[in-house]
Symmetry: C2
């Protein structure tokens, strides 16, 4: 992120006041002709200069023979020339004083080494010239607010975009066009559309960062196959969270990780797609896997209401569909609480045949007297205390008359509850749907998709309404750094203990007498383990003995361990033996730190035993983070119920576990560059109030480069 | 199922040759007027007799003053009269010789006791008169093949249905209409549409059974909130499976079970919605949770190709969307194998810029020469060996010209591979989409929905191509029945052993001498448990002692157990003590039998420990079933990987577990009426080749009624 220019430098790229098109074609169907044609049609208000050495005019505009020959500095240039000519063209643009360029041309990094070298030149020219470059190999950008149409996407050919509250940042031009088109079909306008292609300079993180600051953008939709600069993306999402601007993100490539996640080795679980889940969870981003989810969520979010809660009211004219919606609500973790008793009575008096609990089934007969519907909905909003009400009307509400009535009658109620939302599920011709939408209602055909949209709105709402986060714990004063050499277990444990990780009581013995003394000091049953920086997998050489009691047994065990180690690992440095108390019973967990190639140090927690090994039930977070985030991390484990105590076990000390995770995250953030990975396995979570205790520690230092 | 008339009796209800409408209205907008109006518009070819005592003609047809006054016996009657008049009307219909009636009227079981009594009369009249009755409180039925329109649903008002390959059976009229309408919007015709409402006589199982036999119906879509007669539904689905007719089922009400499944007690896991999952798995039904899934699956299945495999070929013009589709494929358990090397070379020669592995990314440029696309697709089908190819073209293929070319060029290839399927994901105007559809292609806007459709087709295909199932094992000769009284553990174990359940070696001791002798005979370490029909939870009273070695220790343990039991449970009958060998190590499972109120005896298997208790990881099947089904049941467990051996454990004897489950299912089917539940907990699955062994058995006999 170090050499990344300030986000303000993107303004000329996203909203230029003057434009040159290099390689402009007179044919509005050709790649070099389309952007010009679109902007002429749209009526771009600033200077628009085609550059074409072979023509006097291009599409009716006076043409210029070269960039040099332009009458002034264009803020942005569109570059539609063959790849080998791109560097010179960009240099000319920069020399002329352009602040931004959009490069359509392909033939760069996607084409192998030679192309990659060409692309490196593009980046160097951009940086040297103080010019932001989009592409190469991209479908470009448009900004419907200012008629800037630097794209050859055919998705705008048939109809120019009309500005709207959603903006799209996509690495893929084809998919970005696909989504833009479908969004428009759904009646949602796209204000700014940025496709980043090869990302020689401007990347998706830049685009998101800009859109966060753009006042016209109310909802950000992003699509990526991979993030080049994790730090920049994290910064952009931090800003989005602070600005309460909803971000909907599709990150593809989960399946590669599917395989990795299946591996039972914890190291294989990190550095992977699941880290994106962590990132998105931390910054309140809604991750979507399908285009439908993306569209549904953006469409709902475009209405700008994000109820802070999880209580869903369901109104239906079909009991069965009410059940179907309740099923979906439960799948999505929503509450479907009943109407208050008094309100149920009022409803029953109005509609004797209705089910009045929640789902409220008013039956299709209610449409004989529309006031019943509006009264009902008002009651649900006013008395039910629901954060969102979803109403299923199928075809029954498909008339302008009913739409008018619903919209008019409920207007006052809706104004009184600006933080609540009503979503409709109905089938109607597009013009009736638009009418409902203009009246403030989101409309879905599929009732379960309406419920999913409600869940998404409330997820944003709860995130935006969160109290300020607890900061990560302070760094312990004088905590030691990780050395460059391999660490033996006892060294790793000592180091981590200084960073706040509690370990079982233990002594270090370098003689049988030490072992005796340790046994006397610790008392009770003991575990003894060989201590050597060269022996990382102690159990495999018989380097661990458990259940030792008393000084004599400890002395004997000491001798046995030293002999075994010397036999099995002849060259290994033998520092001595760890003598440790047997840890009390508790819930077994695994805590790890991995260095993710994109996002840096990541903390992992999993439930020990089959849950992590068979189901890969682990959660990640980017370091550092506070205790609240750690708590949500723990709650995200599939087996989190184990902490509540099953089979008569007492509830476990989740608070202590959360605190430990936050401390480990502080260590990971501070020491990230010096470690490859850390494994605390197992960490036992003791009964509530009694804390946590780590039994074993492994630190793998970063490889020297 | 005993008093259920043969499915052939439904023919007059579904395809009547003559019709009377009782309560016929002259106003085609009223409930009593709509069906008549629809049938007049549709041009029903047989006699159509309105009954209305107040009019000479109804909607232009001569009216009759009563059912009696009709000129002959109508095969089917539509009854649109107030609830109290329904029984007399139906009696008159039956007396006149009608074979079927459709009752729209509400005011029956949905309205409390009085209504239920009225509904019971309806059922009695139907049975006594040999007449099949649909409803009451239903939206009726239509059969587009013969212009029978016995419905007042407004979904047919605007446009009469045109016959198509899909038929719909729905308990809910509102939802049935919703689905029919959306299906038509998707260009899929509904042949027969049956809504069963209160199901006084005809229920969804009847409807499905009829549709299985109906030659015009190629795909059955069913919707239910609950099944009244599990046996009948099972029989209908057995027929559908045998006929290779795809059934797509939405059963709502999962959420009630969500709560139940969360309970860690195994008994709470059965008797529930999850039994429907078992039913659907056993009979190859695809269960859907959303309307989109229902429509997508029916739309794809309507094309009648069900590839037997799981290999997906992906063709795309956007690399990122290719990844997105691969993600979806992995989620759905599909294979995405690479193209053969030789074919990759051929492709690369054709399209130097393409990714040729799979996903095959031909880039949008390929559309400059259409022959590249068709060649590519032919190569994927011919050389790739994929069962389905999904191709993503977004807006690029939205022209009639491209559609014609694709359809024409690939026709021959498609004919050569009639068991393979091609699915397109593209955006195009409806007329272009229809053109592709008519050319034999299913078309989806959302690429991941296209992949889901491919997965559904292949699921049907694999099911239809299954070799004949292994029959359930034979009943063991002379196996004893479950008595009516409570059974002690040793009695339960003896009984189940006779049915083929292997237990650990054990002896029954009624004296310290017996205990000594048993210890000598069994050898090794032992477990001893108190044996009493009155003590079902032995551990709670200290009734189990483990790790006993030698005759003296066994004698002492015998005395201890008898004393403890007498102390803690003074009134209990003490039969003696079970002396058992310690079971060898293995994977712990739980096997249970529950009597489901709808479907009868159900067998459950789960993985012991946290997987079943925290995650509710269990699978059900309706008894009886064969070993193959048991194998699939086991494979369906989330933690099935445990059987492969984790943490260095050897692979477990899954074959023996499957055999045991099949045997338990035979016991459950035979003894189902006499048992409330059976618990084998734990059952240890030993390493491959060494079998399974049950450690404990509990049989709760059925309560006497």
């Amino acid at each position: 992120m170090t050499d990344r220019p300030d986000v303000a430098t993107l303004r000329p790229l996203v909203a230029p006041r003057s434009i040159a098109v290099i390689g402009a074609s007179d044919d509005p169907k050709r790649i070099g002709g389309r952007p010009l044609g679109y902007m002429i049609r749209a009526g771009f208000s600033g200077p628009l200069w085609p550059v074409n050495p072979k023509r006097e005019t291009v599409q009716g505009l006076p043409a210029f023979s070269s960039v040099d020959a332009l009458p002034g500095a264009p803020e942005a240039c569109i570059v539609a020339v063959p790849a080998p000519m791109v560097p010179d063209t960009l240099e000319a643009c920069a020399a002329k004083g352009a602040k931004a360029a959009v490069v359509f041309s392909s033939g760069f990094a996607e084409m192998g080494e030679e192309g990659a070298a060409l692309q490196a030149r593009v980046r160097a020219i951009a940086r040297a010239g103080g010019m932001r470059v989009l592409g190469p190999n991209c479908l470009g950008i448009f900004n419907a607010h200012c008629d800037w149409m630097a794209t050859f996407s055919s998705s705008v050919d048939h109809e120019l975009p009309t500005p709207g509250p959603v903006s799209i940042a996509s690495q893929s031009g084809a998919y970005g066009s696909h989504v833009f088109h479908l969004m428009r079909q759904r009646g949602v306008g796209t204000g700014i559309w940025i496709t980043t292609g090869n990302e020689a300079d401007v990347d998706v993180a830049d685009a998101v960062a800009y859109l966060v600051r753009d006042e016209d953008t109310k909802v950000i939709v992003a699509y990526a196959e991979g993030i080049r600069d994790g730090e920049a993306m994290r910064a952009a999402l931090t800003d989005a969270a602070a600005a309460h601007k909803p971000v909907i993100f599709m990150k593809v490539g989960r399946s590669a990780i599917g395989a990795a996640a299946a591996a039972s080795h914890t190291a294989a679980l990190a550095g992977s797609d699941r880290v994106y889940d962590a990132l998105f969870a931390q910054y309140g981003v809604i991750r979507v896997d399908t285009t439908d989810q993306m569209l549904d969520t953006a469409y709902a979010a475009a209405r700008g209401r994000f109820p802070n809660g999880d209580r869903l009211g369901i109104m239906t004219i079909s009991g069965g569909v009410g059940v179907q919606m309740a099923d979906a609500a439960e799948d999505l973790g929503l509450q479907v609480p009943p109407m208050p008793e008094a309100a149920q009575k009022t409803l029953k008096a109005l509609l004797p045949y209705a089910a009045v609990r929640n789902p409220v089934d008013i039956t299709a007969q209610a449409f004989n007297d529309l006031s019943l519907i509006t009264t009902n909905m008002r009651l649900m909003l006013e008395e039910g205390g629901y954060d969102v009400v979803v109403a299923f009307f199928t075809m029954v509400a498909a008339s302008r008359f009913i739409a008018d009535d619903l919209i008019k009658t409920l207007e006052e109620t809706r104004e009184r509850f600006p933080d609540k939302s009503i979503i409709l599920s109905l089938i109607a011709p597009p013009e009736i749907v638009r009418h409902y939408e203009n009246g403030g209602y989101a409309v879905y055909e599929d009732p379960t998709r309406a419920v999913a949209a409600a869940a998404a709105l409330m997820r944003f709402g709860r995130f935006f309404a969160r109290p300020p986060e607890s900061a990560p714990p302070a760094m312990p004063a004088g905590a030691p750094s990780v050395p460059a050499d391999a660490l033996a277990e006892h060294q790793a444990a000592d180091l981590l203990q200084a960073w706040g990780v509690p370990f079982v009581d233990r002594r270090f013995a370098t003689s049988t007498d030490d072992a005796r003394a340790a046994a006397d000091a610790l008392g009770g049953r003991l575990v003894m383990k060989i201590a050597s920086p060269d022996i990382l997998h102690k159990t495999e050489i018989g380097g661990v003995i458990v259940g030792i009691e008393g000084a004599d047994a400890a002395a004997e065990a000491y001798a046995t361990l030293m002999t075994r180690a010397a036999d099995k690992m002849p060259g290994a440095r033998l520092d001595g033996v760890i003598v440790a108390a047997m840890a009390p019973e508790g819930v077994e967990t695994v805590i790890g730190v991995q260095r993710d190639p994109t996002f840096g140090p990541v903390v992992m927690v999993g439930l020990g035993g089959v849950l992590v090994e068979v189901l890969g039930d682990v959660a990640f977070r980017l370091a550092p983070f506070g205790v609240e985030e750690a708590r949500r991390m723990i709650a995200g484990l599939k087996g989190a119920k184990l902490f509540e105590g099953v089979r008569g076990a007492p509830p476990a000390d989740v608070d202590a576990l959360a605190e430990l995770l936050a401390k480990v995250s502080v260590f990971a953030a501070a020491e990230g560059a010096r470690i490859e990975s850390v494994d605390l396995n197992p960490v036992r979570v003791l009964p509530k109030g009694r804390g946590v205790v780590a039994l074993d520690a492994l630190i793998v230092p970063a490889e020297k480069t």
